[in-house]
Subunit: 201 residues, 2 copies
Amino acid sequence: MPRPSQPILSTAIITTAALRAVDAAGDFTMPGIAEKLGVRPSSLYNHVSGRAEIIELMRGHVMAEVSVPGERDERWSETVTRLAREYRRSYAKHPRLIPLLTSQTVRTGVAFAMYNALAQAFSDGGFTPADVLAAITTLDSFVLGSALDLAAPEEVWAQVDEANDAMRAALATSVPNPARADTAFEFGLQTLVAGWLTQAQ
Amino acid sequence: MPRPSQPILSTAIITTAALRAVDAAGDFTMPGIAEKLGVRPSSLYNHVSGRAEIIELMRGHVMAEVSVPGERDERWSETVTRLAREYRRSYAKHPRLIPLLTSQTVRTGVAFAMYNALAQAFSDGGFTPADVLAAITTLDSFVLGSALDLAAPEEVWAQVDEANDAMRAALATSVPNPARADTAFEFGLQTLVAGWLTQAQ
């Protein structure tokens, strides 16, 4: 079989290559992706405008896994809880992508499906537009931090001499991951919902 | 002036070089640091055992900026709030370090000063050891996510056609950073404290 003289490129192929580089090394470069795909860097620019667009494509890739539509009779706090769980699950697959995504303005339409649903939920809960923004940002921060925690090692804190009695007792309750991270995430989500219920008007 | 034949190395110099590499490119390598410092990679190993130790040294560097001692008459929720603010401020200086730190077990004694104070505060608040661990993890996730948010661009979400009315109204209240991120962080901290107060026994 003769090899094709030109490898077939697409935005999906470029996105996958960039995601692999980020998973492995925390970042990607245009020349690095070109080399990996066996094309010249200039060929990439027939499909994407540059680094920023690739980051938005990666955001779209992970956001597409967050299923937004909910039950009709779902309460606003249930919507928020459900979206937070899916959002975390999707981002936990690519923890090293997180700082790249947070360092860039969200422009991907697909990402707005989730943010729109969150905005509607908090708005239904009685929050003012300013508090809707703050609540979404809080959830965003908590979920991204929790996604990093889900990707953390079995033992987050070593049993060190420096731990005091309270910390030692807390660490003694720890279980292997993902149960440890899952338990903490669900507890934190309950904390946030309980807090929002006291803040909502 | 003759140049010294051997550049002076120390763990502090190695830590600073690694931190610069992470800030710039999201990661560091032993050969990369050696090249930057004009030494052979083998020279680094006279000071550090390897990559993992350098990551712990970087953790110690950012954790040393978190001032732990508090007022004697401080309430547990005030201790937690105060530590969260300092913790976020310190980590926001090195957002790309965050995934490297969360991917490795905490062994640095200096990091335990803060975790001990948090464990004592939640324990004083009436939480069981298991819930102390979950509450610390929740705060950790929220603070690390918020540190990434503080390092985010002025405009986190573009004003796109895809935004619904609730999201559009929320975005219209946004102000430039750091005020935007600060407002959201303080709101989220209030949410968590309100939630913990309903959960504490």
